[in-house]
């Protein structure tokens, strides 16, 4: 690392000389000792001064010459964010820095702060590059986008819920509750990977640690369905929920996602179903467990579909079995809703023991082969 670092320093000849004079050989507050790359963003272009540069501490000098507010991202091959800067207004300049090991990266400008951005492939050279499977990188990138889309779509639904709570409208809040959770339920393993968000938004009363304040969806669920009234505190908890979910949305791009974590995340979603939803514990007041159940299964299936091409090459029989069992579980769940396009499921307290056993059996039938997906992907 040090040798590489030094070579970066010497490469930036002028800056290095300056640094030597000031006696600061490695880092300077001005960033002058670093490899600098200019990024010129316009409304339809994203130009970089160098497409190859030695690995190390990199400074991006960004100038927005376009007419729209833009964002600039440095991304790993699987679209995980190395670094980013948002809200770069027209005609303004910004500097961002990143530690970049040898390997392939993408620099993306997003004029209007929307979409996948205008992309430039760049390379940090020197040292060994880990071998990557581009198909798996693409799968992870697609899954990250999926997770981001789920978070983006969740916020407005959660705001509808929060507004109803704050308006003291019990019926409207109850109606908005379950839909506000679907995107979260689909991508829960990603959200849980941050550690601190899940305990704020999705903890149940029995999951509280000593001294932990109960916040989030289930706290409000209890007020709506059990206490049947909305208190002043509930209204502030609704605001807190939006704040925490916004935090989630902002962090999805930086989540560590690997092909293995995707596969195991799919299995974990089924575990969530097996331990929380099949028993009716998750939504013990609202009994909207089947909505969460459906969300979990959809999220697992979406992750699986992205990994399927690789898994199929390594273990075709597993893919056949998973397709079959996902279809079987979907068919079974459909029995509990009148309209296949709605998330209006039967209240779980109306599902009898026989029905719950069938659901549990179908979850086991799917989760067992799903536990073998990670091995089939990395084989």
């Amino acid at each position: 690392m040090r040798a590489v670092r030094l070579s970066v320093v010497t490469a930036a000849a002028t800056a290095a000389a300056l640094a030597a004079v000031t006696g600061c050989t490695e880092k300077s507050s001005s960033g002058g000792g670093d490899q600098a790359i200019s990024v010129t963003a316009t409304d339809d272009k994203c130009e970089v001064s160098k497409k190859e540069f030695p690995a190390g501490h990199i400074e991006l000098d960004i100038e927005n010459k376009g007419s729209k507010v833009t964002e600039v991202y440095v991304l790993f091959p699987d679209d995980r964010i190395v670094t980013e800067r948002e809200n770069i207004g027209p005609g303004t300049k910004q500097k961002i820095t990143a530690e970049m090991k040898a390997g392939d990266y993408t620099i993306a400008c997003k004029p209007g702060m929307k979409g996948d951005g205008i992309r430039q492939a760049v390379k940090a050279t020197g040292g060994k590059t880990a071998k990557r499977d581009p198909r798996l990188d693409a799968a992870v990138a697609a899954y990250r986008k999926y997770s981001q889309d789920q978070a983006d779509a969740t916020l407005p639904l959660a705001e509808t819920f929060a507004k109803a709570v704050k308006a003291g409208d019990l019926d409207a809040a109850k109606k908005a509750y379950a839909p506000s959770r679907i995107g979260w339920e689909r991508t829960e393993p990603v959200a849980e990977s941050f550690g601190d968000i899940d305990p704020k938004v999705d903890v149940r009363e029995d999951g509280l640690e000593a001294g932990q304040k109960w916040t989030g969806w289930h706290r409000l669920e209890k007020s709506l369905w059990q206490a049947k009234k909305i208190t002043a505190e509930d209204k502030s908890l609704a605001d807190q929920l939006i704040k925490d979910l916004t935090d989630w949305r902002e962090r999805v791009g930086k989540a560590e996602i690997t092909p293995t974590s995707m596969a195991n995340g799919a299995k974990e979603l089924l575990d969530e179903v097996a331990t929380g939803k099949v028993t009716g514990e998750e939504e013990r007041y609202s009994h909207t467990d089947l909505v969460d159940f459906k969300g979990n299964v959809e999220g697992a299936q979406d992750a699986y579909e992205l990994l399927k091409p690789v898994a199929k090459e390594n273990d075709a029989a597993l893919v056949t079995e998973l397709d079959k069992q996902f279809a079987a579980l979907d068919t079974l769940l459909d029995k509990y809703r009148a309209d296949k396009n709605s998330y209006d499921f039967v209240s779980y307290d109306k599902v009898d023991e026989t029905g719950r056993k069938q659901l549990s059996d179908a979850v086991n039938a799917l989760a067992e082969p799903l536990s073998k997906l990670a091995a089939a992907v990395v084989k």
Partner: protein, 432 residues
């Protein structure tokens, strides 16, 4: 000691089983895992109704040996009764015969390993870090502990797989019996697994791993843990006591009684027709969960308890006799005494091989012991075995203290002949 066909284990060099019981590994460790000790008992003559035979079982259990997996009949029927049971009944979740056959083959492979004291598949550790291990691991380091795995098929299987023409007539739907209070969630099933072992963890491990292999093909409908065998198939041994404190099943069929096994337990080729030819060498199993009203029983006078059974409580001798194994004189007993009504002489000779276990599933919501007898009986034909006997028990004085709350019947296919054979091959192979 009478030589009987015994289940065999492949020998260490991987060759098939030896047909000669005298030299097979099974002869050494098969019978109770203590061939030597049993030999000693045999030498001590057939009267061996002594404590010494308990020691035989103790030696066997401590040795933790393996029961042979291969043989004409499945192990776990005539095999000396192990101490612990985990019995599971499954519902079929597929109507695809090929898929179910593959599962039976996978079960066979896993059962062959587990009964030999080995882990399932690639084992419980050391494999791919990204994948869950094949074996669940809780039996690592435990001895085979005389584990037997006995597989059976319930009535529903034949219809679900479109094989109604192969359902044996002898596998009848059990009729309702007087006093039945059956819980459907503890009754029936398309497939059963009887796991018996001297170590409860070995038995539970076996059922758990078979259930895991079966996910998507079969799902557990109900299961029952049993402790304390209530019958013995080892004639030298003292008859074990049930939770009512009595010895029952004293004249059970012994694993060594080739003639009685042939007469009452194993399906003979002559019994079969086109529907049931595959059952030759098999047997039929009736399982009944019998709840005991423990607390009222404990408040019953000794005299009444003994009258109800027709035996004395201490020795277990029939009324008017001195010793447990003295031939009972039925007419000396009360007309509604349990032994009198259950005895073959009161049932035109009908005789069952009983292999039941006591159970205690904690307490019920009323604070009463949730306990009883998990009755398991093997027979050649259910119509000539369990049904007449159970009908005759309608007037049993014991009925005041017991209630049948679960019920199931299964056809037990013949044994796994060799390393290429699998559970139920005769049923699912066209040539059978």
């Amino acid at each position: 000691m009478t030589e009987t066909p015994q289940n065999t284990t492949e020998d260490s060099n991987g060759e098939g089983s030896s047909g000669e019981a005298g030299t097979s590994r099974r002869a050494l460790i098969g019978w109770g895992g203590a061939g030597l000790a049993l030999g000693a008992v045999a030498a001590g003559s057939a009267v061996a109704m002594t404590r010494g035979t308990d020691q035989v079982q103790t030696v066997a259990a401590e040795a933790g040996g393996a029961i042979g997996f291969h043989g004409d009949n499945q192990a776990g029927i005539a095999t000396p009764v192990q101490d612990r049971l985990h019995f599971a009944a499954f519902d079929l979740e597929t109507d695809d015969r090929a898929e179910f056959v593959q599962m039976l083959k996978d079960w066979t492979a896993a059962a062959r390993r587990m009964t030999a004291g080995l882990a399932v598949g690639e084992g419980a550790y050391g494999g791919l870090a990204e994948a869950p291990p094949d074996d669940t691991g809780e039996a690592l380091g435990l001895k085979p502990s005389r584990l037997t795995l006995t597989i059976g098929f319930g009535p529903g299987l034949f219809e679900k797989l479109g094989m109604a023409d192969r359902r044996p007539d002898a596998l009848v739907d059990l009729p309702a019996f007087a006093g039945d209070n059956l819980d459907k969630n503890r009754s029936g099933g398309d497939v059963c697994v009887q796991a018996c072992s001297d170590d409860p963890q070995v038995a539970v491990h076996a059922v758990r791993n078979l259930a895991r292999i079966g996910f998507g093909k079969v799902s557990v409908r109900w299961s029952q843990l049993g402790f304390g065998k209530t019958s013995s198939t080892t004639p030298e041994e003292q008859t074990p006591r049930n939770l009512l404190g009595f010895k029952d099943g004293t004249r059970n069929i012994a694993g060594t009684e080739t003639d009685r096994l042939k007469k009452f337990v194993w399906v003979d080729g002559a019994d079969t027709d086109a529907k049931s030819a595959w059952m030759t060498g098999g047997s039929y199993l009736v399982a009944r969960r019998i709840r005991m009203h423990i607390e009222p029983w404990d408040r019953t006078s000794l005299q009444e308890q003994e009258d109800i059974f027709g035996r004395d409580k201490g020795e277990g001798a029939p009324v008017g006799k001195a010793k447990e194994r003295d031939e009972p004189f039925l007419k000396a007993m009360k007309p509604d005494a349990h032994v009198r009504l259950a005895h073959p002489d009161s049932n035109h000779g009908a005789t069952l091989l009983r292999r039941g276990y006591s159970f205690t599933d904690g307490t019920d919501g009323l604070g009463r012991l949730e306990a009883g007898l998990f009755f398991l009986a093997y027979m050649r034909d259910i119509r000539k075995g369990f049904i007449p006997v159970q009908r005759n028990l309608a007037t049993d004085a014991l009925n005041e203290y017991i209630q049948h709350v679960g019920s199931a019947a299964f056809a037990i296919p013949p044994g796994i002949r060799d390393k290429d054979d699998w559970f139920g091959r005769a049923l699912f192979s066209k040539e059978a």
